[in-house]
């Protein structure tokens, strides 16, 4: 167990490094330079000396590799640097914007899960055939409509027509509901799809037949067997969903004009504010890696067939797929849905 955690930690650091390096390269090859833009701006009142000091400070006249090594070293000493556009500490900008996005993503996840569970239950347990068909159609619908379309529709109907919610963020809980529901609706698609398929597959397992033969009713069987067995694939999907939530936050925050990491990354990319973009990439990567690490740790507690020692970890992943039995395709499908729509890949690195 300890070795497993250490190994995963080393992997996490490697992923963080790769994300950092990749975004560094991508942003460096972009034409233009934030510092020169600032110096050469028509309203800039900088003297040539000041301009020189600025260039020296950021080192943007140095070779690229030197900048990279310097930034990386700064990273190890806990220094993310300063924003180029507004001069604030990057760390400060992140901590300032994180809570808003965390609230949005957190509530979005809760709404998405609740929605997914309801839809999956209705698909599997609804009494009338036509009702099942209607609900079976929902996950695909919610995943195929782009997030900004859903956002704009919700905004128009509930804010402008019905005046139920404020059209801009006024830091109340009511203002959070609509954007969170928007994100939640989008992530609920794949979750509902996978959950309903996994409930369906679990219900067709021979051990469920045996439960019926013991005289158990649907409710009893759901509580005892179906719930836990169908949660296994959802847990794996949850790791991916976190990335999706953060990516969704970028669009949602733009549509609803909310402050947050999403807004921050949009402005930073536009102004090529390299240190801020790097900071956000690192933060989101860290969140992503952490969530996936936690799901891996939680797995053996739900599935006794998986043991976390060094010998079995590799087998564990295969086992997990086997446990989902036939759900492999659905997971791939769900992952494909993510891939297709992910609006800003930076957020997921």
């Amino acid at each position: 167990m300890r070795r497993y955690i250490l190994k995963r930690l080393a992997q996490a650091i490697a992923v963080l490094w790769a994300a950092y390096t990749l975004s560094f390269i991508l942003l460096s090859v972009l034409p233009g330079d934030a510092i020169r833009n600032r110096i050469n701006a028509p309203d800039s009142l900088m003297t040539p000396q000041q301009a020189q000091t600025l260039l020296e400070y950021y080192g943007s006249n140095r070779p690229l590799i030197e900048q990279y090594v310097r930034d990386l070293w700064g990273l190890f000493t806990g220094d993310l640097g300063y924003s180029i556009t507004n001069g604030g500490r990057v760390w400060g900008l992140l901590t300032l914007n994180l809570p808003a996005t965390a609230k949005l993503a957190g509530l979005g996840l809760v709404i998405g899960l609740v929605f997914a569970v309801i839809v999956a239950l209705l698909i599997n347990y609804a009494k009338f055939g036509w009702l099942k068909d209607v609900f079976s159609f929902l996950p695909a619908l919610s995943t195929s409509v782009p997030i900004f379309v859903i956002g704009i529709i919700v905004l128009n109907v509930f804010a402008f027509d019905l005046h139920w919610i404020p059209p801009v963020d006024n830091h109340t809980f009511t203002a959070l509901i609509a954007p969170a529901a928007t994100v939640g609706l989008v992530v609920s698609g794949p979750l509902a799809q996978v959950l309903s398929n996994s409930i369906r597959l679990t219900r067709s397992q021979p051990f469920v037949h045996v439960m019926h033969a013991k005289g158990a009713g649907e409710g009893y069987i759901f509580r005892k067997d179906i719930l836990r067995n169908s949660l296994l694939p959802i847990l794996t999907l949850l790791g991916l969903t976190i990335g999706e939530l953060l990516a969704g936050a970028v669009v949602t925050e733009s549509v609803y004009a909310r402050a947050g990491l999403g807004q921050l990354i949009v402005t930073s990319v536009n102004t090529q504010d390299l240190p801020v973009v790097q900071g956000i990439v690192l933060l989101t990567t860290a969140i992503y890696v952490t969530v996936n690490f936690i799901t891996d740790i939680v797995y053996p507690f739900i599935d006794p067939r998986i043991a976390l020692d060094e010998k079995t970890t590799r087998a564990a992943r295969t086992r997990r797929l086997a446990a989902a039995e036939g759900l492999g395709g659905d997971l791939v499908e769900a992952a494909d849905l993510f891939e297709k729509r992910a609006p800003v890949e930076v957020a997921r690195s």
């Binding site: 397992q205 021979p206 051990f207 037949h209 045996v210 439960m211 019926h212 033969a213 013991k214 005289g215 158990a216 009713g217 009893y220 005892k224 067997d225 836990r228 067995n229 739900i302 599935d303 006794p304 067939r305 446990a323």
Partner: protein, 550 residues
């Protein structure tokens, strides 16, 4: 029980005595594409308390559907379209869902087919036995647990508290089936539906499980409906046997009546297909022994990560003979087969095939030999590329030995050989254009044989080639193999856990246990004068001994 048999031998109605369960003119249909397809036609039989009635028949004959109808557990698209089932004074066919729930597990219970998938993998096995008690009794948690301990003792577990806390994956197949039996008897039912309770188990384990069921029903006068495709099991365990064909119960009678004077033509065919009952040409084992060996294995070891799957086996296979390797799962028989066909490398020892030492050959080095030695698996379908039609499947081994060329040219050139191979496997040439998914199990196995024959090999390794097939289909495949051997002088290495089949077709036999050969020799010697205790145990466990007169 006997009373029923004596008063009305072979009677479909099983009149006389008290009745526990009466099935009258039962009709069941499945809804397929909005149309009802009748599956069971006018099934009528009855069971007295403590009686065992076996329902035998091939797959699709409706025996499992009958069992499920008695439990009210037909699949969603199945429905009872006529007749009735009466259990004591309750008419089951008129029962509400709630009525069914209170009956199942308490009065009528199920021992399912495949123990490996019949337990929830995420719950402790003790809790799963406890389900029956929580559903049907007012016992508190501690009393339930104590009861489960007692049930576990009844089914032969020793360390009951440990077993209670274990998960299914920590138990063997036989132990899982014991857990399921404990769960089936927890409600002290009057009737148990045992649906192929031992089909996935090794012979010795099968015997233990069947003995256990026997013992329980004697003790509690529980009646058992034993659904099985294994005539041997039915002959050994049942008071009466019902033979089913195409959804009809064609004949009911005592085992003696069914096997010694079968009335219905289908029964006759079924009984005739039992391996050692079919006419087997007497083999001249001595003559075989004088021929030159084509496979020589000396002190073969194969270990996987420190554990020995094969631990020092030595044997010789002679040209034109059938050499069988028998053993239970995990005995190393399939690993031996894999070494012979070069799918895995030996750890030590020496193996020579057709005079060529293959011990140190990797897959590439082994390749030329594949023209001469081919393998046929138990489940051919999973060894077919799903995109291939039968033509492609059979062509596959040929292609490995041909220079790359344009597909249509190659197919044209190979056509004759493929048709010849299909015909050798007794399949019409038109099958070439069909897809394996459309074929039945027996036809697929023929395709697999055709695929092996297409390169005209000298040796065929047959790894459980008939275990997944119905008895009459299996008999046809064995006949086919027999003919091919006679016509082409093929040498067979036959891997099987089925001793009755081995006895019927082999010249020499090796018995494996824990990676070692515990006994080998001419088939008659091994079967009539077994020297190793393990062989004796295996022979004793064969179902249907009275049937095959071993």
């Amino acid at each position: 029980m006997t009373l029923t048999n004596e008063s009305a031998p072979g009677s479909v109605d099983g009149t006389g005595g008290e009745h526990l369960l009466v099935v009258e003119n039962l009709n069941v249909a499945y809804k397929v594409h909005r149309r009802l397809r009748p599956t069971l036609h006018d099934i009528s039989f009855s069971i007295a308390p403590g009686e065992v009635i076996a329902l035998v028949g091939e797959s699709g004959s409706g025996k499992t559907t009958t069992g499920h109808a008695i439990l009210g557990l037909l699949p969603e698209n199945g429905q009872v379209t006529g007749g009735r089932i009466t259990f004591r004074d309750q008419v089951l066919t008129e029962l509400s869902p709630k009525g069914w729930r209170s009956l199942r597990g308490r009065a009528v219970s199920l021992i399912p087919q495949d123990p490996t998938v019949s337990l929830d993998p995420l719950r402790r096995v003790g809790e799963q036995v406890e389900d029956t008690l929580s559903l049907h009794s007012n016992l508190d948690a501690a009393q339930r647990r104590r009861q489960v301990h007692e049930l576990f003792e009844t089914v032969g577990f020793r360390d009951v508290e440990l077993r209670y806390r274990q998960y299914p994956h920590e138990l063997s197949g036989g132990m899982k089936q014991r857990v399921l039996i404990a769960s089936a008897i927890a409600g002290e039912p009057d009737l148990i539906i045992a649906d192929e309770p031992t089909s996935g188990l090794d012979a010795t384990v099968q015997k233990q499980v069947l003995d256990l069921i026997d013992d329980l029903r004697r003790r509690n006068r529980t009646a058992v409906v034993l659904v099985t495709h294994d005539l041997g099991v039915a002959a050994d365990r049942a008071d009466r046997i019902g033979v089913m064909e195409h959804g009809r119960l064609v004949e009911v009678g005592t085992p003696e009546q069914i096997f010694d004077s079968p009335q219905h033509p289908y029964t006759r065919r079924l009984v005739g297909a039992v391996p050692s009952r079919s006419a087997v040409p007497v083999r001249d084992v001595a003559a075989v022994g004088r021929r030159e060996p084509v496979i020589t294995v000396t002190d073969l070891h194969k270990s996987y990560g420190g554990t020995d799957a094969v631990a020092g086996t030595s044997f010789e296979v002679h040209r034109g003979e059938t050499f069988s390797i028998v053993g239970e799962s995990g005995s190393g028989k399939s690993t031996t087969a894999r070494v012979l066909v070069g799918l895995t490398e030996a750890t030590s020892g020496s193996v020579s095939v057709l005079g060529k030492d293959i011990t140190r050959l990797d897959r590439r080095g082994y390749r030329p030999l594949r023209q001469d030695i081919q393998i046929v698996y138990q489940n051919p379908y999973s060894s077919f590329d799903p995109r291939f039609d039968v033509f492609d499947v059979v062509e596959e081994p040929l292609r490995a030995f041909q220079p790359p060329q344009l597909p249509w040219k190659r197919k044209k050139a190979n056509r004759d050989r493929i048709v010849a191979a299909l015909e050798a496997a007794a399949l019409p040439p038109s099958f070439a254009d069909r897809h394996p998914a459309e074929l039945s199990g027996g036809q697929r196995q023929r395709v697999a044989i055709a695929r092996a024959l297409v390169v005209e090999p000298k040796i065929l390794v047959l790894d459980e080639p008939i275990s997944a097939l119905d008895v009459s289909v299996a008999a046809q495949i064995l006949q086919l193999l027999e003919n091919l051997q006679r016509e082409r002088g093929l040498t067979y290495v036959f891997i099987s856990h089925d001793l009755a089949v081995v006895r019927a077709i082999s010249d020499h036999v090796a018995v494996m246990q824990n990676g070692r050969i515990v006994e080998q020799g001419a088939v008659d010697d091994v079967f009539s004068r077994p020297s190793s205790p393990y062989t004796q145990k295996l022979l004793a466990a064969i179902a249907g001994r009275k049937l095959v007169h071993l």
